[in-house]
Amino acid sequence: MADKQLVADSVVLLEIYKRAALLKANDERARKVILSGQIAMVYYSYRGQEIIPSVMGEVLRDDDTICTIYRGIHDMLGKGFPLRELWAELAGRTTGSCKGKGGPMHLTYPAKGVMVTTGIVGSSAPIANGLAWAAQLDGSDRVSICTFGDGASNIGAVHEAMNLAAVWKLPTIFVCQNNLFAEHTKFEKMTGGQNIAARADGYGIPGVRVDGNDPEAMYSAFAEAVARARAGEGPTLLECMTFRFFGHNFGDDDSYIPKEQKAAAMEADPVPRLRARLIADGVATEAELAAVEAEIEARIDDAVEHALASPWPEPDDLRFDVFAKEIAA
């Protein structure tokens, strides 16, 4: 596992597609479930950004860790977060990974390395460094990923974290998913220099802008960053260019996204694009992929059903998990 290849061949591309199909289907289901009223939750759709975490999931090991953000369910699923624990948490049930206490913005699943999900812009980065430091101390070649958005690149925490990772030569990989919007703000308008990868130079670390919707380019860039980190050569900043198809969060009026830009991005939807290519290249047949997708739907069905059938927490649960010892009643 340590010697992952640096180029995505067709076998890898197929695996990437399978992950992307899961992510896409899960996002679609989430929006459907909210609309239907089955689950009420704050939800940040990642539709359009699936290739990035699908590649990451393919390259990473279970013991590699990730610190992600409110718009992070794609990253977590890519990392192996199980569907039942996910959906039960979204539904706020005791069977959720966080017993219903965390919810969609604070999903955690250490068994698959999903260590922190934060709702605070930029705060994934400093914590990822600590997990990277622990890897150094353990003498392990595992890597620590943090994901954040284009908007987050303007907040102090991200800057401090990149500099610390540089001077400590940490195996941290800074994965900026540049979806061109931060809430309602256009990337170009609020980002001095208009190139996040270029900021890496200022810390003396590699910075790479890559088409995050192109599985091969993303794979090579990410695998190289991981190889560097595993080899003890320090951090990398990846700026993965992508686009989110919907508003900032569910219910957001997305009229601030220029119609043509949105239409063009959806036209170039990376998930069906990869699917079509796999079929065209003879890597998989339509029937095989349809079967994969059907199985995904079935797994999601199962998870949602499990979630909705699970028990709600009791008010008394507030006394637990504040400290290791419960709070007196």
């Binding site: 704050v42 219903g100 206490k101 919810g103 913005m105 604070h106 812009v121 930029g122 925490a157 709070i327």
Partner: protein, 337 residues
């Protein structure tokens, strides 16, 4: 605001409308009023709650500025502009995000007047939203007013009616010192039986409102909890208990006179806030009442507040987290028993 509070005859307006009008009127009245924050200007939609919608179009891109996601830079820009004679209103979208700007707020905005021996001042308003009720979980709902109340040099306000929201925000913008103006999200769009105030309406900072008069028990609260307290008082009255509801409106410096007068009258006080009970603003209020009215109270001051945990996600937990009208009513019955 007085006992007229919920008079059904009045038109129904929302707090968010009042805040938007206050903003607009302040901009129209004083060219030194400026504002900044994430997504505030019209190209970005006029703010996530659309409170500033139209403002940049009406008053120009120079006075109404969207910012990068950089709360320290936002607060610093507000402080600096205020040092040069402007009256900036800085939006920190949610109160939990003040945590990334505490240095600017506490070490600078609150202290520059004192540290400069009065040579400079920082007449800014920090507008920030918060409040549970939407399942946002642990990092988006905190009430942190006690931190700022503990910080000499900065004032803290919160309104529970559209009229007060208007009057307080106008007064805060005109105040020569920094003010944190806390807005409650779940009561934002609830139509209330009030009028949209005229542009000369002001609520002086530091003055509480007796929103309902009563003689058996005093409930002191603010923000959404004042709405809940009014509902509880209504119910208590129906059950024969006379409840006085005091909305602090300004949490720091709070109106000791009004609160002590009411406490002296009823002899029984309940302080309610959504913030964590322990070390919350209610502790200070209870400590002062107990000290000032020692021996003169019928019952010890009772405090209700948020649970001692992060704000939970799951609906039943979130419902259990903070006081509500039912729990206030129960406390009222308990204290008069």
């Amino acid at each position: 605001m007085s006992a007229t509070a919920e008079k059904a005859a009045k038109p129904k307006v929302t707090i968010i409308e009042a805040i938007a009008k206050a903003y607009h009127d302040a901009f129209a009245d004083d060219p030194k009023v400026i504002t900044l924050g994430e997504d505030l200007a019209d190209p970005e939609g006029g703010g996530i709650a659309k409170i500033t919608k139209g403002l940049s179009t009406s008053f120009g891109d120079d006075r109404v500025r969207s910012t990068p996601i950089s709360e320290q830079a936002i607060m610093g820009a507000a402080i600096g502009a205020s040092l040069a004679g402007y009256k900036p209103v800085a939006e920190i979208m949610l109160m939990n995000f003040t945590t990334v700007a505490m240095d600017m707020i506490v070490n600078h905005a609150a202290k520059l007047r004192f540290m400069s021996g009065g040579q400079t001042s920082v007449p800014i308003v920090i507008r920030t939203m918060t409040g549970l009720g939407f399942g946002s979980g642990g990092q988006h709902c905190d009430y942190l007013e006690a931190w700022f109340a503990h910080t000499p040099g900065i004032k803290v306000c919160a309104a529970s009616t559209p009229e007060d929201a208007y009057g307080l925000l106008r007064a805060a913008i005109e105040d020569p010192d920094p003010v944190i103006f806390i807005e409650n999200l779940p009561t934002y769009r609830v139509p209330m039986a009030f009028e949209l105030p005229a542009s000369d309406h002001r609520v002086p900072l530091g003055k509480a409102a007796v929103q309902r008069e009563g003689s058996d028990v005093t409930v002191v609260s603010y923000a959404r909890m004042a709405v809940q307290a009014r509902a509880a008082a209504e119910q208590a009255t129906a059950e024969g208990i006379s409840v006085e509801v005091v909305d602090l409106r300004t949490i720091a410096p709070w109106d000791r006179e009004t609160v002590l007068a009411s406490a002296r009258k009823t002899g029984r006080v309940i302080v309610v806030h959504e913030a964590v009970k322990e070390h919350g603003a209610g502790a200070e209020i209870a400590a002062v009442i107990n000290e000032e009215l020692f021996g003169g109270l019928k019952k010890p001051v009772k405090r209700l507040g948020g649970a001692f945990s992060a704000v939970p996600y799951s609906r039943p937990l979130e419902n259990a987290y903070a006081p509500d009208a039912d729990r206030i009513l129960a406390a009222i019955k308990d204290i008069v028993s």
